[in-house]
Amino acid sequence: MGVTFYISAAVAVAATFAVITRYNAVHALLYLIVSLLAVSLVFFTLGAPFVAALEAIIYAGAIMVLFIFVIMILNLGPQAARLERAWLKPGMWLGPSALALILAGELAYIIVSGGGRGSAGEAVVGARQVGIALFGPYLIGVELASMLLLAGLVGAYHLGRRCEGNGGPAGSGRSGGQAP
């Protein structure tokens, strides 16, 4: 069973690497879905079946679908891929890679030499326990999450509107197309 963890972890990392290096948006999205599913499997091996399911359903199922919808609306075709190719010269990777690697080194050092001992995934913490905790001590979190979702709903509706009428998004009174 421990092997599952390692294999899923490797798949997740590889898929995530692919996400950030694709030129085609849809390809990247698909790789991200793969990565998310791999992480879901990791959750399973860690004894967290509830969030594993949630990860697959909500993250991979809803959020990524949103992305696909927007990409289809924007109609990013082959010329977008060509643009990406132009933008992603190898030289562009230097700075970000440096920063990322330094940060990775620091995190690795902290994690390895830090206090954390112990093993994960020894027991399964099921949906029941999660539910009791959720509607018990963490009830306020539930309420706050609902408010957050309401805000998101209203915001998405408002921001999604077209420019005619009340003006567009924040910054009413400014017509579109300011100089870059």
């Binding site: 700075g95 970000p96 920063l99 990322a100 330094i102 940060l103 620091e106 995190l107 050092y109 902290i110 830090g114």
Partner: protein
């Protein structure tokens, strides 16, 4: 009667006030007010002189205190006038010569300029009289500064031409160097002796200071510095030739007869201090000797008639310094008197020539004017003869001769000084008669325009008479003047072992020198004018000619040594260097702000990178 002493300086000051405040309405009559106030002063001087001579006051000195000027701690100088033999002679000469020059200026200056001109001239005469009559050194310094101011105002009288302003500034600044030295000397004297009242000061100095002590030397040197500035002696002589930019009456009054002799007066007044520092007194004589030679050579090659006269003035004041330096105090004053007469005359006559040729100063463009301007010619000749010390009939002969004899025979004189003076006399004759021959003889190159009127002719004639006859008050064997001056000045100390007939021998030598000079000038400039030209054109001659023409390079030296570095420094400091500390901080802050502003690129990924970098740094800092 002597209580009217204050009127002598009062009248010119009143004239100045009248002209300054109400002159605009006077127009042509400004000249009357101007000349009249000085005339009244001259009249008062004559009256007071008569009173002084007939019934002299006790100790042959009269002090009149008008009021206390200031009272600070123990220092309470008063506006006090002091009349003794020395100041009487000075005041007489100054007021009479000034009056004649003012009368002359009435016709010389045009009507529009009269009010300002006479106001300045009156102010000058008032300050000069204050200087000479001052009882204490503070009042003397007031007069000293006042004449310096008026000299500046009058040299730059035609201020619309920038060159005149520059000449005026040069005069003021160079004399300022001397004035500063004198002021420090006054501080020293007050700090050490506690008073600046002249007679008191001299008494205390001779009582407390040893001969040759450091304090006496210092005080004498500092006062000498002031005298050198005002009297245009080495090394502060560069201002006088350029000061000829002013109107001719100004040159006559200020730069020939009165202001340049203020230094001579100062040294004569404080003679006790100089006698307490014999080395300084020797220095005075040496400076006088060197200056008279230097200026003589320079006068020999000038083209502008007024510049010849300017260098001549420097040279003649050098004679006065020479006399002071060897202890011949009365001889110096005698020469001052005769010099005032003939130099003022020369300037005024030259002014007639210049004006009649429509402002032509270059002698080489004049010539043959003796037929066209007869009176100017004869009076100029009288002045020139007196300047060259033509034997027996001119006043200059007696005064210059006396100086030469005293330079040889004084207890502190020397043969070198006498030789320098003799050579100077020879040079004087040459350049003087060069002037005469170039201007009045030879081929007439220009036609004389306006001829002088009565108010110009009268002063010329009066001064000519004085130049010729004024010497008889001090002929050998008839020492009227020196006997009178002995009431104020120490007697002349003759060296031991001088024979009785020696004086006659020396007089003959001096007379021969002056006549030889006239003859040489005749040969070079009248008989064969090409001779002088050939001499000047030769290589060595040309070099000397250029060097003497520029006044022995002093102007160049001062320009490069002092003026240019100082101007550079002023220009460099114009950006207000200490302010740089503050503006620098502001500019640094602004630059730092601009630098930091470059981080606001507006690009989101840049900001994200910033966050990542921040995270790295925080992790570095917080984890051990």
């Amino acid at each position: 009667m002597l209580r009217l002493l204050f009127l002598i300086p009062f009248f010119p000051f009143a004239g100045f006030a009248a002209l300054a405040l109400g002159g605009r309405r006077l127009g042509r009559r400004a000249a009357v007010v101007g000349a009249g106030s000085v005339g009244l002063s001259a009249l008062a001087t004559l009256v007071l002189s008569a009173a002084f001579l007939i019934s002299p006051p006790r100790g042959y000195a009269y002090t009149q205190t008008l009021w206390t000027w200031m009272k600070v701690g123990g220092f309470a100088p008063g506006i006090s006038l002091y009349l003794d033999a020395l100041s009487l002679v000075m005041v007489l000469v100054i007021s009479i010569v000034s009056f004649l020059i003012h009368v002359y200026s009435g016709s010389f200056m045009s009507a529009g300029e009269g009010r300002r001109f006479f106001a300045y001239m009156n102010l000058f005469v008032g300050f000069m009289l204050t200087l000479v009559l001052a009882d204490n050194l503070v009042l003397l310094y007031l007069g000293w500064e006042g004449v310096g101011l008026c000299s500046y105002l009058l040299i730059g009288f035609w201020y619309k031409d920038a060159a005149n302003g520059r000449a005026a500034r040069k005069a003021f600044i160079v004399t300022r160097v001397g004035d500063t030295s004198m002021a420090i000397g006054l501080f020293l004297l007050f700090a050490r002796l506690g008073t600046l009242d002249i007679q008191e000061l001299l008494r205390l100095a001779s009582a407390h200071w040893q001969a040759g002590s450091g304090l006496a030397v210092a005080a004498a040197l500092l006062l000498l510095g002031g005298a050198l500035g005002k009297s245009a002696q080495l090394p502060l002589q560069t201002w006088l030739p350029d000061a000829m930019a002013g109107p001719t009456p100004v040159s006559a009054l200020i730069h020939a007869a009165t202001m340049v002799t203020a230094g001579v007066y100062l040294i004569a007044r404080t003679n006790v201090l100089f006698s307490l520092a014999p080395h300084v007194r020797l220095l005075v004589a040496v400076i006088g000797a060197v200056t008279l030679l230097l200026a003589g050579f320079s006068a020999l090659v000038q083209r502008d008639i007024k510049r010849v006269l300017a260098y001549s003035t420097i040279s003649q004041v050098g004679y006065m310094f020479l006399a002071l330096g060897v202890g011949a105090w009365s001889a110096a004053i005698f020469h001052f008197m005769t010099h005032a007469f003939f130099k003022a005359l020369l300037f005024l006559a030259a002014g007639v020539v210049i004006k009649s040729l429509a402002d032509e100063h270059d002698m080489f463009r004049m010539g043959g004017l003796r037929k066209q301007l007869p009176l100017a010619f004869w009076t100029f000749l009288a002045g020139a003869a007196s300047l060259s010390a033509l034997p027996l009939i001119t006043a200059g002969f007696y005064s210059k001769d006396l100086i030469l004899w005293d330079a040889w025979s004084s207890a502190s004189g020397s043969g070198w000084l006498w030789a320098a003076g003799l050579a100077g006399a020879f040079l004087t004759s040459i350049y003087t008669f060069r002037m005469v021959f170039l201007t009045f003889f030879g081929r007439a190159r220009a036609r004389a325009g306006s001829l002088p009127g009565f108010s110009i002719k009268a002063p010329l004639v009066a001064l000519a008479a004085l130049s010729l006859a004024g010497g008889f008050v001090e002929a050998p064997g008839v020492p009227l003047l020196s006997r009178f001056l002995h009431h104020a000045l120490p007697p002349f100390k003759q060296a031991a072992g001088i024979g009785a007939g020696a004086q006659l021998v020396f007089e003959v030598i001096a007379a021969a020198a002056s006549l030889a000079g006239i003859y040489l000038a005749y040969q070079l400039f009248l008989r064969r004018p090409a001779g002088a030209g050939a001499l000047a054109a030769s290589s060595a001659g040309g070099l000397l000619h250029r060097w003497w023409f520029s006044g022995w390079g002093f102007d160049w030296f001062y320009d490069h040594g002092f003026v240019l570095p100082y101007s550079w420094l002023a220009r460099a400091g114009r950006s207000d260097l200490p302010d740089l500390a503050f503006t620098g901080a502001a500019r640094l802050a602004a630059a730092a702000g601009r630098l930091l502003g470059r981080t606001q690129t507006g690009r989101t990924r840049w900001y994200a990178a910033g966050i990542a970098a921040g995270a790295i740094i925080i992790l570095l800092l917080t984890v051990n």
